[in-house]
Amino acid sequence: MKNLFVCLTALCLTLSLPAWAADKYDPFLIDKRVLKKEYRRIALAPVESSASLQMPEAAKEQILALVTKHLEKRKFTVLPNTLLADIRKTMIDQVGGLKDPQTGEPDAEKIAAVQDHSWRELWFRNDLDAVATVRIDILQAPVENDKAEWDGVSQKLQKKGRLKYTATVAASTVTLTIYDQKKQPLYVNYGGLEVLMMRDKKEFKPLDPSEYFRDEKRIKKATELALKPI
């Protein structure tokens, strides 16, 4: 009987394995070994996030420090984000700021020019193999039984009580991408950061932006999740 149980368990595992394996997300867009062997010198880009998140500088620094530490531990040479940040700053001055002086609105042509030229200049001035970018993205996280789950994390939406229906709430995620010089992604991975809404009785309401990025543990976990496969 015991043997039969072991056999059945083994059979179930064998049968379920291929389907599970096929569904698993692979963040590597090139062979992992090639990435580690041929892309040794990686420059960091400044952290980008939607203006609506009002991301504090401290949170950006925390993320970049974690990325640097992780990559260096994996024997990559990491060039600081200030290389690109300084180039961008100079170029923004050279184009007279990114806003249209007449309307005060963002000037799309100037923004595109600074993005393109700063990218090219970063590579022109430095001996690089890749650039790593970190972006804080907003997405819809599925909620079940008052718990949101997305990109490897979960978060409860109310400490007390439980609302038993399914929904989606806005949540943030750390997206880490490593690009080659052609701006082709070599690696893209995500780590769930935090929900941007909370339940108030039977409704989900947006949190005030001052509530975002307060939990350093969540920032650390999100960044580590995005980096983990490297």
């Binding site: 184009v95 000037d107 100037k110 595109a112 020019a113 030229h117 090219r120 590579w123 819809q140 052609k182």
Partner: protein, 400 residues
């Protein structure tokens, strides 16, 4: 093929599918949408199309849309006159090879599909397939047959919305409604096996009706495999991800063979490729830029070479060719092919500022300061008020 035989063929195909008996063919009805649930489906689909227009996914290409409408007219003749419906086309700026049909006769076509077809007959093979989905009211049939299953798709619809967001950069959860779900499931995974075969076979008849060679359907469908270059697991893989494509090609081959054995078989024509390149020319430029973003430089160059044949005097085709070479090899130092393309751009239009800038940037990378200065100064002469003029002045200062 005359109207009568086309009607007969459509009717025969539908008779062969008992599950669809409840839905009448176009020749048996005098108005569309026929029933309330179909009207509801149309309304949802219309709102879906409107949302795609609002978020910039559907872009107006009047000359291409007109051409596609005239192609559909040639395939259909007066078949739809009694319903007072005219097929419409919308162009989607996507590098992948895909097309789909809304239930009210609007057909969406990716620029990636337009540019990969070699001639009008190949395009007709795909367009006629979509026209057939409309003629057979396949979306409505699928809705009736999927019924409750369709509603499960709410979650799938959200995924489809997310997939769309990844293309358009804007997530609209409203696209996750039933209509959105149906559309994206159909356009990504295809209709039921039977409906796909019906559309394939009827598509051949429509091609014959327009006097086009049905043999061209084979290379046209084989090109759909090219979607694979856009990455495994990519939601935009569309048709090629479907394992039935090989089977469908085999079925088409069989069908064409059978047709050829028929008495009075008319082989149809393969129109001149260059005429096709000319009519869809704007799509080559758009798709080349999209291919740059995907890292598909060789594909971009293929399309641009066709654009140059179609519009040999337009400097844009040469400039983008230079960009394809430069972006594929951004570190240099060998920029010969890119430089040659930029020089041709200037030969075609001496005021094409961006070509001077790129020549200057290439020489700057390979250390030819004098030539870099000369070209960048020329750039500022021509485009002193360009958005990046200040940055280029900065390069010139550093080159002194």
């Amino acid at each position: 093929m005359n109207k009568k035989s086309l009607l007969f063929a459509v009717f025969a195909l539908v008779l062969a599918i008992p599950a669809h008996a409840a839905v009448k063919t176009m020749d048996k009805i005098d108005r569309l949408p026929e029933k309330e649930d179909e009207a509801d489906l149309w309304e949802r689909a219309t709102s879906h199309e409107q949302r795609l227009r609002d978020n910039g996914t559907l872009v107006a290409y009047p000359s291409i849309e007109q051409y596609l409408e005239s192609l559909a007219d040639r395939m259909l003749g007066d078949f739809l006159d009694h319903l007072d419906i005219k097929l419409k086309f919308v162009v989607v700026e996507q590098p992948t090879l895909n097309a789909w049909a809304y239930p009210y006769g609007t057909i969406g076509i990716h620029t990636g599909l337009l540019v990969r077809m070699d001639n009008e007959a190949q395009l007709a093979a795909i367009v006629s397939h979509e026209v057939s989905h409309f003629l057979q009211r396949h979306t409505y049939r699928e809705m009736l047959s999927r019924g409750t299953q369709g509603m499960i798709g709410k979650g799938l619809g959200l995924l489809a919305g997310a997939a769309l967001a990844s293309q358009t950069g804007s997530y609209d959860p409203g696209l996750g409604d039933f209509a959105g779900d149906l559309w994206y499931n159909l356009s990504t995974s295809g209709y039921s096996k039977k409906n796909e075969y019906v559309a394939d076979e009827e598509g051949l008849m429509l091609m014959a009706h327009a006097g086009l060679s049905r043999d061209e359907a084979i290379p046209a469908f084989e090109k759909l495999f090219e979607n694979e270059v856009y990455g495994a697991g990519d939601p935009r893989q569309m048709w090629s991800s479907h394992p039935r494509l090989e089977d469908r090609i085999k079925n088409l081959q069989k069908e064409i063979k059978r047709e050829k054995r028929r008495k009075g078989f008319a082989p149809g024509v393969v129109p001149e490729a260059i005429d096709y390149y000319r009519v869809i020319a704007p799509a080559y430029l758009t798709t080349a830029r999209l291919d740059f973003a995907e890292g598909q430089f060789a594909r971009a160059r293929d399309g641009l070479a066709r654009y140059q044949l179609a519009r040999p005097d337009d400097p844009q085709g040469y400039f983008l060719m230079g960009e394809a070479y430069r972006r594929e090899n951004p570190a240099g130092p060998d920029f010969d092919e890119a430089l040659a393309a930029y020089e041709t751009t200037i030969a075609k239009d001496a005021s094409y500022a961006a070509a001077y800038r790129e020549i200057g940037m290439a020489y700057r990378i390979n250390g030819n300061t004098a030539k870099a200065r000369e070209a960048l100064e020329r750039y500022l002469d021509v485009a002193g008020d360009a958005a990046d003029a200040g940055i280029v002045r900065g390069y010139l200062e550093a080159l002194q």
